[in-house]
Symmetry: C2
Subunit: 363 residues, 2 copies
């Protein structure tokens, strides 16, 4: 298997995949990469986890033959592991190993379904922050009324704080992500705030507003100013910039609300013989709707602001979910996203050095 990988790797984009730590175990991950391999002949994989188990799972998938190199790792990061513990003692884990392939340059992007906190902590440790970035961020795709069907929101929980400079970097990184991941030439960027006009507003948001506005041309985005929570699933902006505390709360509230409605909808369809019949008739339409707002379809928070790209797949991702994360990883790798993002951040950093745009001039 290794031999055939070596010979064909040149034309393939290699994705490093952590096979362990997701709720459904390595079988879902192997099934997911098999789906991706079938769909896209240009992807190759380095798969990290217990060698014997992975090879047994892969044996059943013809499509993976010659496409996967297995890297043995005996340890698993569980959902309950503390990030600080993994940073100190996680050297033998599949997560660590998966990041190592990106660090070494063998793979372009890393995909993992594991513990978010641990993955971020390890990513910071092993990949290091991008030059000029103070706080990396996690960006997610959010079902919206936009033509592309999704908005980018960041940060959704890499950090709980963000000052005006961090928020500017989120704008740059989010715009770069939207351009390379969603093919939007000039993404519209909005800064999350609350609507009531006259109160004083958080000071850092006013400063961030000015900074993001000033750097629109350099960052190749259009700044639409302040947006509200209702604009996250809306069509006002393509990129929603906020701090990780607010973003994480919004993300989980939105997910929880969607889940509640979904469950109530199921109950409603079960209520009477008529509604049960209706549910049969509406099946195709409902599946289409489900697909439209299914988190598995847009599976993958992306860690931005590191030397390398990491796609965090949902912990409960099944084969479809893993395959969606791999697709996103491929797209980002293929577009040279990491290099473009780094160049964009550097450009703004450079302009700061040339003509300071920080507190002295924006306050």
């Amino acid at each position: 298997m290794q031999d055939s990988l070596t010979s064909s790797a040149k034309r393939r984009t290699i994705i490093s995949v952590d096979a362990m730590g997701g709720d459904r175990g390595p079988a879902a991950v192997v099934a997911g990469i098999a789906l991706s391999a079938k769909e896209n002949p240009d992807i190759g994989f380095i798969l990290h986890g217990p060698k014997d188990e992975l090879e047994r799972l892969m044996a059943r998938k013809k499509v993976l033959e010659g496409r996967v190199e297995v890297r043995h790792a005996s340890g698993i990061v569980t959902m309950d592991d503390k990030p600080s513990h993994i940073v100190r003692h996680g050297r033998e884990t599949s997560m660590w190993s998966a990041l190592e392939s990106v660090r070494s340059g063998e793979a372009a992007v890393c995909v993992s379904c594991g513990n978010t906190g641990a993955l971020m902590a390890l990513s910071m440790l092993r990949l290091r922050k991008l030059e000029g970035v103070n706080r990396p961020a996690i960006a997610v795709l959010w079902p919206s009324r936009n033509p592309q069907g999704f908005n980018v929101m960041l940060d959704v929980g890499a950090d709980i704080r963000a000052d005006e400079h961090d928020l500017l970097q989120y704008a740059l990184m989010g715009a770069s992500y939207a351009r390379n991941g969603m093919q939007l030439e000039i993404p519209r960027v909005g800064l999350l705030n609350v609507g009531t006009e006259e109160h004083k507003g958080r000071a850092e948001l006013k400063l961030a507003h000015d900074l993001i506005a000033q750097n629109a041309e350099r960052g190749k985005y259009r700044f639409v100013g302040f947006v509200e929570g209702g604009d996250i699933p809306g069509d006002t902006a393509d990129v929603i910039v906020t701090d990780g505390f607010t973003g994480n709360t919004a993300l989980k509230t939105g997910e929880g609300t969607a889940k509640l409605i979904g469950d109530l909808l199921k109950e409603a369809f079960k209520f009477s013989p008529l509604s049960r019949l209706a549910s049969v008739l509406a099946y195709t339409s409902m599946q289409r709707l489900k697909k439209r707002i299914d988190p598995r379809r847009v599976n993958g928070g992306v860690f931005l602001g590191l030397n390398g790209t990491v796609v965090k797949s949902h912990g409960s991702a099944d084969a479809t979910g893993v395959s969606a994360a791999v697709k996103l990883a491929f797209q980002l790798a293929h577009s040279g996203f990491a290099e473009r993002l780094a160049a964009r951040v550097a450009l703004v950093e450079q302009s700061k050095a040339d003509a300071p745009t920080d507190k002295g001039t924006t306050a």
Copy 2:
């Protein structure tokens, strides 16, 4: 009409209603109070707005005869008016007049569909903050998996900041609201935070955690500790405490997500002849679901922490919405909510004076 009101007012609970400023105008408000009057013989109204117009609208509603006193007010607060402008120049408006009836003690609770910012600013000015309350809050009911079908969340936008003492007061006020508005003897209170355990967390949240825990008995609630965005529509807590920035964002994100799903659902049902037939068959079940999560059914943010209770109805409220807000207002008036809340806040303030629980001991 005035005469009959005087004679029957003694046994009636009087609600002061701002007829103007909602998106659907005074006709929706008059239709709404007529619905309420029909359902509940124990409500009387003071209705504020242009006398001629209101009397013309009321003439068609037999059920309102002898139940409504009209207070003429020529001015209207529009949705675009700046709160600071209304505070300075709003003396002739129906909103000002509606609050005046609560201030004077003629009515127990004020209901308005108007501009939230202006209503809060006027409420602060005319009713004044409750002794011991630093920041009043807006509480909303949120569709959830709880047996009662709703959670209380506050603050959703009265202020954008809250320190640990404010958050404690939100816990007290929210618990009091849940007890009096939802008949929960010992409400469960949760403090909104983000899940990733180990990062430092916002300092005020750690302090608030301790303060809220310490005052559980005095406040007559059970503290369940930190909760996440996903718990807002969940069944972990009955009262979700957070600052107005986070709460407002969560509220609008949740509303926006629900609206998006609803619209996509409608599209899905229109997609094919089969799905159109399904939508006919599922009609009753869908209406039931809609009712369950319909904001009009739980219409009314409640302003807490003032000398008097103000129910802010949704700007787009129709007759059903207005009637739901009046029902809530009646329930709160009837249970002596304002006095109970004041007593609860005073109790904790008193305990602070007796044995300081502030920074010195909790840090």
